[in-house]
């Protein structure tokens, strides 16, 4: 169907390799490897080595960048920003894979100076690679959902017009909040808290730090391993796709005199308090009881 397989370079900067590992769980990986050509990948067999990437001038269609960048960080004595610069200019498309490559993520707290994402330092734009912004797509997540990355690459292959949000993330996957599709929505609506981690009952937004109502992503639309999500399993969403990830006290909702500091996306304080006040006034027996 396609005359030529798109050539992909997966470049790893300041990273834990978590996104590479997550991608290995893509259920159709064999098909994917058949459809594209990995010129270089740190874990998957590929034609060239990192040394080749540095010494040679290799053709590439899509550059995948995993991990944060810093002018101080080198791979095999080569500054990572030189490597990014070299292949980003050759590539037709660039994808920042994961929250570190997109916003700096947890590695923005590393000892390397000026550690940021490719185009963002948390929510603030950076300027070093500004000229490449027009061909970049961000896939944030710690780690990324393999389907989101794979489907974005397939969309590039098919020349689809992907609508992006302000952080260059495909709206197809990031226009939703993690709250969408959460099996605990009834508990959220009627303000029934969950007091035990891992239980199927209760909402974790009010006490347990769940960030799903104000975090963009598809975790409850595209289930992890086709099975589950954090919130469904009983663990709060930690907001890992957000520019300010990671925050502190991930298991406790930050409140000021009883009002959550972060409210559901786009919901005004008075609107939230009015609804909460009404639902708090009633007790729904079914939602107070264990499901099983």
């Amino acid at each position: 169907m396609y005359d030529k397989k798109l050539k992909i370079i997966w470049l790893t900067a300041i990273s834990c390799n978590g996104n590479s590992h997550s991608f290995l769980n893509y259920p159709h990986l064999e098909q994917f490897i058949d459809d594209f050509e990995f010129i270089y990948h740190p874990l998957i067999y590929s034609k060239y080595s990192l040394q080749d990437l540095i010494n040679k001038d290799i053709e590439c269609d899509i550059l995948l960048l995993e991990g944060a960048i810093s002018p101080e960080f080198k791979k095999m004595d080569e500054p990572i920003i030189n490597l990014v610069d070299k292949y980003a200019h050759k590539a037709k498309k660039i994808i920042t894979v994961g929250t570190c490559a997109t916003f700096g993520g947890i590695f923005s707290q590393s000892d390397y100076a000026y550690t940021t994402g490719l185009h963002f330092d948390k929510e603030n734009p950076t300027f070093l690679f500004k000229s490449l912004k027009h061909k970049t797509i961000s896939i944030s997540g710690c780690p990324i959902q393999p389907e989101v990355l794979a489907n974005t690459i397939y969309a590039i292959q098919k020349n689809m017009d992907l609508k992006l949000d302000n952080y260059l993330r495909p709206k197809e996957f990031f226009a939703y909040t993690i709250h969408n599709g959460c099996t605990r929505n009834e508990y959220f609506e009627y303000k029934v808290d969950n007091h035990t981690f891992g239980k199927k009952e209760g909402c974790m937004f009010y006490e347990h730090g769940c960030q799903a109502p104000y975090t963009n992503g598809s975790c409850n639309k595209i289930l992890w391993n086709g099975v589950n999500s954090k919130t469904r399993a009983g663990l709060p969403c930690m907001g890992c796709t957000s520019p300010d990830f990671p925050k502190q006290n991930l298991f406790k909702t930050k409140k000021n005199m009883g009002i959550p500091q972060n409210l559901p996306l786009g919901v005004g304080k008075r609107t939230y308090l009015t609804l909460a006040g009404i639902t708090k006034a009633f007790s729904i027996k079914r939602l107070e009881e264990d499901l099983f």
Partner: protein
């Protein structure tokens, strides 16, 4: 712009409020209210189907009135201490100029809970007032002025104090005017709530 029917409803609410606050909930009848408005009892029921429903509408009316006053203060670009003083001033001013509002809150709403059980669950009927108090607290905590604590421990301290003072005034026990206590009460409340 209120419709003619809404204007009439508000007039009934204001008159009924005066009577309830003066004579109590049970001693006030629909015919009493109708007669002060020179309305027939039958016509009154076109506006409110029962005395209980009217009583609930009155508390919502008071809550909306006080809520809108506090909202204005919340939206001012002033310190939490200044907001504290302004809320106290507003509350006492209302108690002096519209004593029936605070009286109704203390002597009807809080004292006849059986009337309000169905339809005014929790804080539904006083939501607009409570929300603005919550926002005053929340913004005070966020700005680093107030100590983070359980909402009700702070709410009780603030509103219980003010309600108590107005109650004492209503019983003619206070030797001075309410306004004479504003500075001391502001000092006490702010000191108790601040970090």
């Amino acid at each position: 712009m209120l419709t003619k029917k809404e204007q009439k409803k508000e007039k009934i609410i204001r008159n009924a409020l005066l009577l309830f606050a003066k004579n109590g909930f049970y001693a006030t009848t629909i015919p009493d209210i109708a007669s002060t408005l020179k309305m027939s009892v039958g016509n009154m029921y076109n506006y409110f189907k029962s005395k209980d429903i009217l009583a609930k509408e009155i508390i919502k009316y008071i809550s909306a009135y006080l809520g809108s006053k506090i909202k204005k203060i919340n939206e001012e670009d002033i310190s939490t201490k200044e907001k504290t003083k302004k809320i106290i001033e507003m509350y006492f001013k209302t108690a002096m100029s519209k004593p029936e509002m605070i009286d109704y809150f203390l002597r009807i709403y809080l004292s006849n809970r059986e009337v309000f059980l169905d339809g005014c669950e929790g804080m539904i009927c006083v939501n607009e007032f409570v929300i603005e108090v919550m926002i005053y607290f929340e913004e005070g905590v966020k700005s680093g002025d107030l100590r983070d604590q359980d909402f009700f421990s702070a709410f009780g301290l603030f509103m219980g104090y003010l309600g108590g003072m107005v109650f004492l005034k209503g019983e003619n026990i206070l030797p001075k005017e309410l306004n004479d206590y504003i500075d001391d009460i502001t000092y006490n409340i702010y000191k108790a709530l601040s970090v």
